[in-house]
């Protein structure tokens, strides 16, 4: 039972909804730099270090993360 609770806590910690306007701007700029449609990031969740899932105003969702020193934007 303890293990189950621990797992649930870890899972909850993995994706944390956040609401930092500067981070939203940063994510929106990155998505735009990659030439992907978004407009404005309305919300995002933190998946890990430099790993985000951004939700755009137009409904698009992107995973923005850093891999081998490069910023990768993947449509979800």
């Amino acid at each position: 039972m303890k293990r189950l609770a621990l797992t649930a806590c870890l899972a909850a910690a993995v994706a944390v909804a956040a609401d930092d306007p500067k981070q939203k701007e940063d994510l929106a700029a990155v998505i735009a730099l990659q030439g992907k449609p978004c407009g404005e990031v309305v919300s995002y969740t933190v998946q890990g270090a430099n790993d985000f899932v951004a939700t755009c105003k137009d409904g698009n969702k992107y995973r923005v993360h850093v891999k081998d020193g490069r910023v990768v934007v993947e449509k979800q």
């Binding site: 500067k22 981070q23 700029a29 990155v30 020193g69």
Partner: protein, 181 residues
């Protein structure tokens, strides 16, 4: 995450290129960010009809440059007043600027690296890319940088914009580019 280091390449290009001949930045940036097409030279005014009496054309004496009045110091050259874009200063400013977020800086750095890589391919003799193919990529990338900076760090945007031609000059020069790589 070492986001700043890659900027150094771009900063170096911008900083190294800004010489005393760089014109002083205009007070307003936004309209100048997009490369304006070269303005066509104004049509020359029509020459007055030649007089019917043909006289031997006399060469006009060359106008002498205006000499400063004796006793007065010569006016300082305009270029000397242009702000020099110092490499270290620019690097520090790019590090410190809060106009661009960390992820955006890294993403821009990726694109700068990619473009510099293409120029290296060009200098290695491979075709494509040709310079005419690289120019739009350069213009687009610079526009991205300026559009990110112009609202929140206008002075940095102005200095980079003023160095546009000089940066291009470095990128297209194999030796100069090698110095900054």
């Amino acid at each position: 995450m070492n986001v700043i280091r890659p900027w150094v390449g771009f900063a170096a290009l911008a900083a190294a290129c800004a010489g005393p001949t760089v014109p002083p930045p205009s007070p307003t940036v936004p309209e100048k960010v997009v490369t304006a097409p070269a303005t066509a030279p104004a049509p020359e005014p029509k020459a007055a009809p030649e007089p019917k009496t043909k006289a031997a054309p006399k060469p006009a004496p060359a106008p002498e440059p205006a000499k400063p009045a004796p006793g007065k110091p010569a006016p300082p050259k305009v270029a000397a007043s242009a702000p020099a874009l110092d490499l270290r200063t620019l690097e520090q400013r790019l590090k410190d600027t809060s106009a661009i977020g960390v992820l955006t800086k890294l993403s821009l750095k990726n694109q700068v690296d990619d473009l510099v890589g293409k120029f290296k391919t060009y200098h290695a003799g491979a075709r494509p890319p040709t310079l005419s193919e690289l120019k739009p990529s350069f213009d687009l990338l610079l526009m991205k940088v300026l559009s990110l900076l112009q609202d929140k760090d206008a002075s940095l945007a102005r200095e980079i914009n003023a160095s546009r031609d000089a940066i291009w000059g470095v990128l297209t020069d194999k030796q100069k580019l090698a110095e900054f790589s």
